[in-house]
């Protein structure tokens, strides 16, 4: 038997040390994000070593494996460390099943378990490469790089795809539908596979959005400071004209609109296409 090399022993010691160190860290609750806004009471069912069952407020950290429940009328917004966000609607009950994020590679994994209620998920770094999963009692919604609203009452789940690469809906029997068009959605239940994706009516979107925010205060004197100065919006950037012609300045198909309008207004282009040379010459 060849005696072990000193270098091998050193490597083995380092490996054991690293394992022990990882184990020690794993026992600590891992931060997932912070409560970045809240309205009404959000109850945490406790995080070992951090807090017992309690109402949590804006600015407090949230952790992996933490279960949260909103009271009636409460809305909570969580900003995750990968810059994903989660808005939790009234009466919703959700657990952050998994949150792993490596800031260096900007990769990781998010998995949420929605028992009941409405949530909106906006994907951050993680969802660019790995689906964010929202598990419900009757199936799972997968979100790839985008924005989605998920609602469940325990027997039925609906997912509305608002933007991104795609949203998958898979029931407990493995039936899947993929939604790739913004504003479309699907729903499914315990004995009902995900429906063919269809456009979600604007009034349904309005209703869901209303439940994820506080209604306008309707009192000009009691207005939140900040916001855009009159006539200026940060969302239009420095686009000339702003919203005066959104199809030609802001839409993601603006180039085609501008090019078609500009080329279409030029009469020479049309006659050239029509006759080949653009000229009509008389018989001489």
């Amino acid at each position: 038997m060849v005696p072990a090399d000193f270098k091998d022993w050193w490597l083995a010691a380092a490996a054991v040390s690293a394992t022990l160190s990882t184990g020690a860290v794993a026992q600590q609750p891992e931060q997932a994000g912070v409560i970045s806004a809240s309205q009404g009471a959000t109850r945490s069912f406790g995080v070992p070593g951090k807090r017992g069952e309690s109402v949590i407020y804006m600015g407090e950290q949230t952790y992996r494996n933490e279960k949260l429940k909103n009271e009636s009328g409460a809305v909570t917004h969580i900003l995750f460390l990968d810059q994903s966000s989660l808005t939790i609607g009234p009466d919703a009950e959700i657990t952050i099943d998994e949150f792993v994020y490596d800031p260096a590679t900007k990769q990781g994994k998010i998995s949420l378990n929605l028992v009941k209620g409405l949530v909106r998920v906006v994907g951050g770094d993680i969802s660019k490469t790995n689906e964010t999963l929202v598990k419900t009692p009757v199936g799972t919604i997968g979100i790839r790089g985008g924005i989605t609203m998920v609602e469940t009452n325990g027997q039925n789940t609906s997912g509305t795809f608002l933007f991104g690469q795609g949203m998958s809906a898979t029931d407990t029997n493995g039936n899947t539908q993929t939604v790739t068009r913004a504003g479309f959605g699907t729903s499914f239940g315990s004995n009902q596979p995900p429906s063919t994706p269809q456009r979600i009516p604007v009034n349904q979107l309005n209703s869901q959005l209303n439940r994820l925010e506080s209604g306008p205060g309707n009192n000009p004197g009691n207005q939140q400071p900040g916001g855009a100065p009159p006539g200026q919006l940060m969302s239009t950037g420095n686009t000339p004209g702003g919203t005066s012609n959104p199809g030609g300045s802001l839409a993601n198909d603006r180039l085609k609109n501008v090019v078609d309008t500009n080329a279409g207004a030029n009469p020479t282009n049309f006659t050239k296409t029509l006759t080949g040379t653009g000229l009509v010459q008389n018989q001489s």
Binding site: V34, I35, G59, V75, T76, L79, S85, T87, G124, I147, L162, F163, G166, T178, A182, L209, L212, E213, S214, P216, G217, N218, N222, P225, G226, A228, P230, L233, M234, S235, T236, G237, P240, G242, P246, L250, A251, N252, R254, L255, N257, V258, V259, D260, T261, N262, G264, A265, N266, P267, T268, F270, L274, G276, L279, V280, Q281, N282, Q283, S284
Partner: protein, 441 residues
């Protein structure tokens, strides 16, 4: 001497190091992603700080991360006293993401808020109108322009003659109807109607008699229809195909000139950000000319044209576009001297900019374009010249569009065309000026 060199080298190294550090710091300051991370860290430390919240949202938007901007701003709506502008911001961001139902939803809520100031209300109403139009099953878009045009040589008379300047009223437009089937691949029946009409003040009479010397009024209309769809909606949602059929008719001085028929295939791709557009179209276009005395061998000019158009557009900065077009054409007729192969290159720079006189916030649009067309005919016309004709035509122009309202604008164009041919009787040049009004739907 040696220690002096060492000192110089040391100083140089320190200076280089300082420059490198300075460049690195400068790059970091100007790196949008670094600014986002910095703003995010600041926000995590104090989530209740509204300024930090806006700073984070602004950094995300500047970095082109509109969905991140949505997340940053939507949380502010949990405050019952949230600024009413937040919903307008969200409507714009969803609109920029192509999520038009959500844009309409937020714009609707913004308009319903009595606290919204008039300027932002107008912005929200504009956006709402556009977003709602885009979510309809049947939608129309397009533009029609009509104006007074003056040309120095509209008929392309040879350069060694004295052409007469002519003026006409011209009407030009394109309307598009989209019938959205509501499918995941965006399948929609897209139909277009393009039209052109000219009426010269001193035009030829409305007959087909031989010996006309004045320019003739032309009326032409052309329709296309075909289903546009994304063949790989999940992996490449912005790549679309549209096979189509086309049908058209043209009248010269009120009498049938020619009919067109055929079909084509459009392929189009745009980047997710919308900054890059690539289009390719192949079209087979048949033309059937009518026999008429006032057009030289009219019934021999018909046949099949094969046309390939390649177009690339790039947004070099917000509101500034550069696009290039290459058009290849193969014309086949009943006479060799009407047949030709041509290649055209056209480059256009287009800029949208704020109203220089500041009476409103609508953007003016100016463009400059230039490009050559090379045309080689299929054979000589012995009655004119024993050589086969070859042309090199240059066209340069300027356009300017001044908006009067969201739908109406004044359109101005100046263009110069010069054709150099190996057959002297085919040399010509033409200068054109046009002032009109344009209606955009």
């Amino acid at each position: 001497m040696k220690s002096f060199s060492k000192a110089v080298a040391l100083k140089a190294a320190v200076a280089l190091g300082a420059i490198a550090v300075s460049f690195s710091a400068h790059a970091q300051i100007n790196d949008p992603r670094a600014q986002v991370d910095e703003a995010f860290r600041a926000l995590l430390a104090a989530p209740g700080n509204l300024d930090r919240g806006y700073g984070y949202a602004r950094a995300l938007i500047n970095a082109g991360n509109y969905e991140g901007g949505v997340a940053a701003l939507e949380r502010m709506l949990l405050d019952p006293n949230a600024s009413p502008s937040i919903r307008v911001e969200l409507a714009v961001l969803y609109y920029r993401l192509g999520s038009y139902d959500m844009a309409a939803s937020y714009a609707q809520a913004a308009v319903a808020d009595p606290r919204l100031d008039p300027a932002l209300r107008a912005a929200a109403e504009n956006l709402l109108r556009d977003a709602q139009e885009r979510t309809k099953t049947h939608r129309f878009s397009g533009s029609i322009m009509s104006g007074l045009r003056v040309q120095s040589n509209p008929m392309g008379s040879p350069s060694n003659t004295t052409p007469t300047t002519e003026a006409d009223i011209v009407l030009n437009g394109r309307l598009e109807h989209t019938w959205d089937f509501g499918a995941q691949n965006g399948a929609a029946l897209v139909s277009t109607l393009s039209g052109y009409a000219s009426r010269y003040f001193d035009g030829a009479r409305y007959n087909t008699k031989l010996g006309k010397t004045d320019p003739q009024d032309l009326f032409a209309i052309e329709a296309t229809s075909g289903v546009r769809f994304a063949p790989a909606a999940a992996s490449a949602p912005t790549f679309t195909l549209r096979p189509y059929l086309l049908l058209g008719d043209a009248f010269l001085t009120g009498h049938q000139y020619f009919a067109t028929f055929g079909g084509g295939l459009d392929a189009s791709y745009r980047s997710d950000s919308g900054k890059l557009l690539l289009d390719a179209t192949y079209e087979a276009r048949g033309t059937d000319y009518n026999s008429r005395n006032d057009v030289f061998e009219a019934n021999k000019q018909g046949g099949l044209d094969n046309i390939l158009r390649l177009r690339a557009g790039y947004e070099v900065a917000p509101g500034q576009l550069l696009f290039g077009e290459v058009i290849g054409r193969n014309r086949n007729t009943d006479r060799e001297y009407f047949d030709f192969n041509s290649g055209e290159l056209r480059m256009t720079y287009l800029a949208n900019y704020g109203n220089p006189f500041g009476w409103d916030n609508r953007a003016w649009t100016s463009s400059v374009y230039a490009g050559p067309t090379y045309r080689k005919y299929g054979g000589p016309n012995a009655a004119i010249d024993p050589d086969t004709r070859e042309d090199l035509e240059w066209r340069v122009g300027l356009t300017n569009s001044v908006p009067l309202s969201d739908s109406w604008s004044v359109f101005m164009q100046a263009e110069y065309t010069r054709n150099d041919s190996n057959i002297s009787s085919s040399d010509y040049n033409n200068a054109l000026g046009l002032v009109g009004v344009m209606w955009r739907y």
